[in-house]
Amino acid sequence: MHELSIAEAMLEQALAALRAAGGGRVVRLRVRVGELSGVDPDALAFAVPVAARGTEAEGAQLEVVRCPARVECEVCGATTAVEWPDVRCGHCGADRVRIVDGRQLRLESLDVETPAAALDGG
């Protein structure tokens, strides 16, 4: 269960991006989690609110885009999604394939709100 340390790293990046963009309150974090990233999205969803506590991202929604593993075939050149447990070409069935997708763990974007008081000119 290393998702807490990953959540902390993610929050650190998010808050740095937030400050660079002028601050506010993070209401949504959008992340891409690859099937081969070694990260469990459910565990991450549990860890992020804990890591966000007391920060400008407290209470933010976590939107996880799950990215399936994909392979490129060295024989026919097709790129297909892996049908577990068989890592082979979904087009021609060859097992000479290269993993081309599914390892990512990326913080894509933040949705940020400026406090209502600031909007109202307060």
């Binding site: 992340v31 070694g38 969803a45």
Partner: protein, 280 residues
């Protein structure tokens, strides 16, 4: 505005209902009418799923106060950068590094003990070993001609590149050609962390069962080599060799697999010769 949850109101205090799960169809401040529900966890048409923490402001992208900041950053970028630095440091010195990963108790330390004994005088090795607690592994590995360093992770389930960077120069001295990093026993988390090794070696003991690669594919997909250990116990546990090899090759076609018993020495010659060649 929805009377039940108050969604659509910029700066609203969030759901007022104690029951966040309800459906409604209405217009949000001039936007197209739409139907959605506020179940705590739900999916969207694009395949994404997410959860709303209880009491969270339901800020959809239509909210006037909301803006999007594009980040597009690898969450483990800091670890990846340190790992790349470790690898460059090792490359400059001609050191080949193996990151040994497996479940706890699959025989990483015994394999290393026997490996160090057999390489002594032939190839100078160094070891970094990680455990949650104790220096028992380091003590087992000391006195075999190789510098050894123990990392106690205290609670962490894996080693990271920073821990390796901190002790690399202490443990890898002049003349070291092979560095073995014995990761924390865990078939999940170490898959996510590059340490700067040249290759991950995954161990699978016959007592764990033939289907481990199917259950924990990421670590087998990421490995450059597999080692089946405790071959001396194969008969006692009814080890199905063909099924195990098929499982490994199903998730990682062509993955080279050593089969050995560190205790009896069966199969060790091929492993040792491989390492001697790797060190040149």
């Amino acid at each position: 505005m929805c009377e039940t949850c108050g969604c659509g109101q910029s700066g609203s205090a969030g759901p007022t209902s104690q029951d966040p799960s309800h459906d409604h169809g209405h217009s949000h401040d001039g936007y197209e009418p739409h139907v959605h529900d506020h179940a705590l966890s739900h999916s969207h048409d694009d395949g994404t799923t997410h959860s709303h923490g209880a009491g969270v402001v339901n800020s959809h992208s239509q909210d006037r106060a909301a803006r999007r900041i594009e980040v597009g950053a690898d969450v483990l970028a800091a670890n990846a950068e340190l790992a790349a630095r470790n690898r460059a440091w090792l490359n400059e010195r001609g050191v080949v590094a193996f990151n040994l990963v497996s479940s706890p108790g699959s025989g990483k330390t015994l394999l290393l003990e026997r490996t160090l004994d057999r390489l002594r005088g032939r190839v100078r090795c160094a070891v970094i070993t990680g455990d949650v607690r104790t220096d028992r592994d380091a003590r087992r590995l000391e006195g075999r001609g190789a510098p050894v360093r123990q990392i106690e992770t205290l609670s962490a389930c894996h080693l990271n590149a920073d821990q390796i960077a901190r002790c690399l120069s202490e443990v890898v001295d002049e003349g070291v050609r092979l560095l073995f990093i014995e990761n924390v026993g865990n078939l999940v988390c170490p898959a996510a962390f590059d340490l700067g090794e040249h290759m991950k070696v995954v161990l699978l003991s016959v007592t764990e069962g033939e289907d481990k690669p199917l259950k924990y594919p990421a670590v087998f997909v990421g490995a450059g080599l597999a080692v089946i250990t405790k071959l001396d116990l194969a008969a006692a546990v009814g080890w199905d060799r063909a099924a195990a090899l098929q499982a490994i090759r199903s998730v990682h076609p062509g993955l080279f697999t050593f089969e050995l018993s560190a205790r009896t020495g069966e199969g060790m010659d091929a492993w040792i010769e491989y390492l001697v060649k790797a060190a040149v």
